[in-house]
Symmetry: D3
Subunit: 67 residues, 6 copies
């Protein structure tokens, strides 16, 4: 499946934490750190673990420019 | 001002286009491309132009993980 | 690629309109109408056209409940 | 109140879980499953429970197209 | 209809502009300015015009704190 | 840093709650209440506490108009 989201950044999972509902996934993306808040169920369903090569997908309308 | 958004990626503007309402800002972020949809007014107010060093700010709840 | 977004609704494109920057994609999803605002570039890149079977992907944190 | 959000999908609550801060609401929408991440306070305030007929409201700018 | 979105700010429309697809609605909210990017179709459907008393609805997960 | 987000509402923190992952920040904005869902880590990193003068930042594309 190809998707309309314009941002697809390749990275690696550095850290993961979750409780019964929420999870936080910390990525290394070319030396910069990214953080994704997803549901704990998504972490379980995708079987995410530290070291996995993943994509950080972001819709262009969710990006703010700071200068 | 420091902000709660967990993603702050450093990049450089590669391309910019806008009409009377909407604008699209294309960034180079460590060799990966990013795209931000912002209002034309924001591009004008910040004086954005190709070559500017900027930040791409994204709230963690807007990041989807693909694997 | 499997993604963390929890909503993946199957539908068919009923209508499409775009200008130089922005586009609007109207879907039929099991008899209910959905609308996606995406960039014109995404419509072009995916080659979207009326009649296409597509998925409407939405992160759970973007869904509001009305009662 | 009528709202500008372009997506208003009618569904029924199939499952609900929450902790002290976060909640997850699982809906059946015409045979397809949807998931909404909302605050536990919203679940309490709206008195949401399994079986309720509700609407899943999504702004068009939050919808990604997959093909 | 009551909704789960935790932010419901009362304001008045100060300015409106739109093209064939996109629109921008500028509000006065207790002396502070707000801006909403919505589709031109939503402006037409709701019949929005300068002077209207409206609500600016925002999901809590879309709010960033700056300090 | 100046940012492209069009909404920057000045307020004061009235209440705060968090668990190990998620947090909720309740603000008073000119007499109206706002709520931000952020990560617990952001609350810790910014040192947020009741009484702080802060900004509620919202991208225009995240605002829904209700009438």
């Amino acid at each position: 499946m190809d998707i309309s989201a314009r941002n697809n950044l390749k990275g690696r999972i550095k850290n993961l934490k979750k409780n019964d509902i929420s999870a936080e996934v910390i990525l290394d993306v070319g030396g910069q750190e990214m953080c994704a808040s997803v549901t704990a169920d998504s972490v379980n369903r995708l079987g995410l673990k530290v070291g996995d090569e993943v994509s950080a997908l972001v819709k262009a309308s969710s990006v703010i420019i700071g200068k």
